[in-house]
Amino acid sequence: MMNKQGRSTHGAADEHAHFETISGDRGLDHEEPLIFEIGRLGKCGVDLPEPEIKHDRLGGLRRRGTVGLPGLSEPEVVRHFVRLSRMNYAIDAGLYPLGSCTMKHNPRLNEKMARLPGFADIHPLQPVSTVQGALALIEQLAHWLKLLTNMPAVAMSPKAGAHGEQCGLKAIKAAHKAHGQKRNVILVPESAHGTNPATAALVGFTVEEVPANERGRVDLAALKAKLGPNVAAVMLTNPNTCGLFENDMREIADAVHKAGAYFYCDGANFNAIVGRVRPGDLGIDAMHINLHKTFSTPHGGGGPGAGPVVLSEALAPFAPLPLIVHYDNGFKLIEDDAEAKARDLKPFGRMCAFHGQMGMFVRAMAYMLSHGADGLAQVAGDAVLNANYVLASLKDVMSAPFGQGPCMHEALFDDAFLKDTGVTTLDIAKALIDEGYHPMTMYFPLVVHGAMLIEPTETESKRALDDFIAVMRGLAEKAQGNDKSRFQGAPFLAPRRRLDETAAARKPVLRWTPSAKSTAQAAE
């Protein structure tokens, strides 16, 4: 059998794929030891002059003994990390359908702009008069975020989505306190991201769950029944984690406000509505925006992110330090509580040292300027169209619990189509790896059984979607056709087979040590 490029597709089944190489490497796939196993004392990848210190001024605290760091030359370091990089999947290499994560293309212009010395080589505490352009950029980004959400204020310093949640809930806590209210309950739907309840607990609230209805939305009646004098806020993701728009948003907002609570929106899925729906028009009081999702700053293998929080009129005075204010023809930074209070502001505190994720702000700004108002509306439109195309093209062979209406930016499937096949959601995910794809989000949200959440994003072409759809249809057929073997041991063709996570957690090995043999050696 040949694929459409005319190459053999025997792959794992081919006996030649199994022969042992002398090196242990396989073509372009290299095994790579730890730097601690290849480094040698006396080597160095940086040429620095010898320090000349006759009498140190370390107060008797000079470090005795070695740190234990390996020595490597520059070519060895470069090769090591290049080889490591080749063991990673990446959005640049293929479609990355992780629902809820918005793995879109990361434009390289963003990277270039963030590295301009005027942004990258400025210190957070150098005189404010020497960083007016930086403050102008933060204000410009803030302006765009406020207009796109129709919200009057934004706190820029949170460093990630969960950090933004914390910021929003702290503003809510401060607002209740200022009004003499002691409310301690946050209502969270069962479909919420895990960070929502974790953040609520961190900020000192008790969490109560609200069930979903049969349409995958918050059960409005159940929510209303739970609202009361103890409820501080409702925390809702919209579009929600089932990929659906909460169509009762206005009614929820009214009920929440009538009960004296605030309405927090998890903005993780803002990509679906940017430029088309403004959260401020839905009655929201606070929403974090993941710049690393909607506004294309790179995920970088897990960070860094940025999570500015837009705030309503009611919450704006409680925004954390620092604050940027305009004066004459420049900008001033308010970094001190007393100075803020003199301006009738009541910041609840500070989320982090300095002023937030400037490097991410520049990238997001480059992305926003590139798209403009028209491009951003197109982003949401194409993201939603792509997801609906995937949903429509797969729902006859997979099972879509809420497939009757349109979805937003992601398509949710459950494992009903795998019933009695012996193949699980996990198996499908791992088989996708063998097909050259990163798996979709699996087993989340928790409200459907064996969830598979697919978010293609707007930066995938129709051709890329058609290829992916063909693979998913093929896998669904094979799973239903009793071809279990290709699933249950999958992946066969990745740099590693399934890893023993239980062993890793039972006896954690969290660092290399010179004496201990590696787990693999010990197992031999």
Binding site: R64, L109, P298, G300, H355, Q357, D382, A429, R498, L499
Partner: protein
């Protein structure tokens, strides 16, 4: 639009498959009154040329550290980053990958994080480290929360010489988390103590070394005092390069080390993104916040790495999690790992030595100026001077002389009037003798 691959023909075909009349039709669940029929009032899309031009205009309004004699520190430091670091972290496979939840196709990320954890544990003299936090200040906050979990106590003592932003960040989170914060009195140079504030209800003492003013101190008496009261010692390090010259906190009795790792591999970036380092003793590992990478084997017995102990984390434990953290500082810790791999044992000690050397040179030169008194007898690459005039004004005037001459203490401690004339001065391996001379000349002029 260059980032959007769908053509109008594609869209029409796809709408046909979906069975929708238009893209707007797909948004029919949105309440009509909230669905925009016109574009948001912002500029239209722009090409690379226009975007570069607009952003360069803003960048050019800032004074880049590299363009002037530069002595600003106090929690962020300008160091040289080797060219290969920035090249490697921009490889697609690192830059554009997600959190390594699928370990079979994320060994690159997982292995460097394992190397990072090892390096951090080595530098700090601790047994284990996590895969990083947002930055030093949030790492310190998580350390405080962890100390409360470990000890079951709710009283936190902060040294007065802790970086004020760190203290405020800790205070902000701790107060709604139900913890009580007690803070010592700040003192530049020697003499600040916080150990007298310890009592039997104290969860931890948080102390920075070198401290906010640059002073070095032996943490051993403080850790002894804390341990006597059943409290933990949390050591904060904002200049991680110092550990190439200075005894690590792990050898002075620290139970948790929370540090800022920006100095290795990462640019100043106006304050972020940075990389928080978090290290502790093995016995506390299950109380640690943040992601952890562990070694294991795959189905064929080959060594590999996975995210582990995730039962601590929010996506499993929800409101019972040790932390709400769902991010590490991936690319920044990659930069840290690569830079430290390039430095190695020899390079790291040399780098630290150069920092100390340049700071000593700077301090000795400034001490000769009339109206300058160096307050910090022992320091690494940063020290505090007392000026004959208010430091904030002096720094503004130095700016006019094209010198970025340090951080006035009053910017971060505006309420302590005794601090008005204090200036924190940092030097690194990038500081040249001519920079020092230019600084001295300008300062002499401004103080005259």
């Amino acid at each position: 639009m260059r980032y959007l691959p769908l053509t109008e023909t594609d869209r029409r075909t796809m709408l046909g498959v979906v069975g929708a009349k238009s893209v707007d039709d797909l948004f029919r669940d949105v309440p009509r009154e909230a669905y925009l029929t016109t574009l948001v009032d912002l500029p239209m899309h722009a090409g690379e040329i226009e975007v570069e031009r607009e952003l360069a205009k803003l960048a050019n309004r800032n004074v880049a550290a590299g363009s002037v004699p530069f002595f600003v520190g106090a929690g962020a430091y300008r160091h040289h980053v080797p060219a290969s670091v920035d090249h490697l972290i921009q490889r697609s496979e690192f830059l554009t990958s997600y959190t390594p939840y699928q370990p079979e196709i994320a060994q690159g990320t997982l292995q460097y994080l394992f190397e990072f954890q090892t390096q951090v544990a080595m530098l700090t003299g601790m047994e284990v480290a996590n895969a990083s936090m947002y930055d030093g200040s949030t790492a310190a906050t998580e350390a405080v929360l962890m100390a409360a979990r470990v000890t079951g106590k709710k009283r936190i003592v902060l040294s007065g010489n802790l970086h004020p932003h760190y203290a405020e960040t800790i205070r902000t989170t701790a107060e709604t988390a139900g913890l009580e914060i007690v803070t010592g009195k700040a003192a530049a140079g020697m003499g600040e103590t916080a150990d007298h504030l310890l009592d039997d209800n104290t969860a931890c003492l948080v102390v920075q070394n070198p401290d906010f003013f640059g002073s070095l101190r032996d943490l051993t008496p403080l850790s002894d005092a804390a341990h006597t009261k059943g409290a933990l010692l949390v050591a904060v390090v904002t200049e991680i390069v110092s550990l190439g010259s200075v005894t690590p906190p792990g050898e002075m009795g620290a139970d948790i080390v929370a540090a800022e790792g920006q100095s290795i591999g990462n640019a100043l970036n106006f304050g972020g993104p940075y990389v928080g380092l978090f290290a502790t003793r093995s016995k506390f590992v299950r109380q640690m916040p943040g992601r952890l990478v562990g070694e294991t084997v795959d189905a064929e017995g080959r060594r590999g790495y996975v995210l582990t102990l995730s039962t601590r984390e929010q996506h499993i434990r929800r409101d019972k999690a040790t932390s709400n953290i769902c991010t590490n500082s991936g690319l920044c810790c990659l930069a840290f790992t690569i830079h430290l791999a390039l430095l190695g044992e020899d390079g790291f000690h040399k780098l630290a030595g150069l920092n100390h050397e340049r700071a000593v040179m700077t301090a000795d030169r400034l001490a000769k100026i009339h109206g300058v008194e160096v307050l910090t007898p022992s320091f690494f690459n940063e020290f505090t001077v007392k000026l004959s005039k208010p430091a904030a004004e002096v720094v503004e005037k130095l700016t006019k002389e094209n010198v970025l001459g340090g951080v006035p203490v009053s910017r971060l401690m505006p309420h302590d009037k005794s601090m008005g004339n204090l200036l924190i001065v940092a030097a690194t391996e990038l500081t040249t003798p001519s920079d020092i001379e230019a600084f001295a000349t300008a300062l002499t002029k401004v103080l005259a």
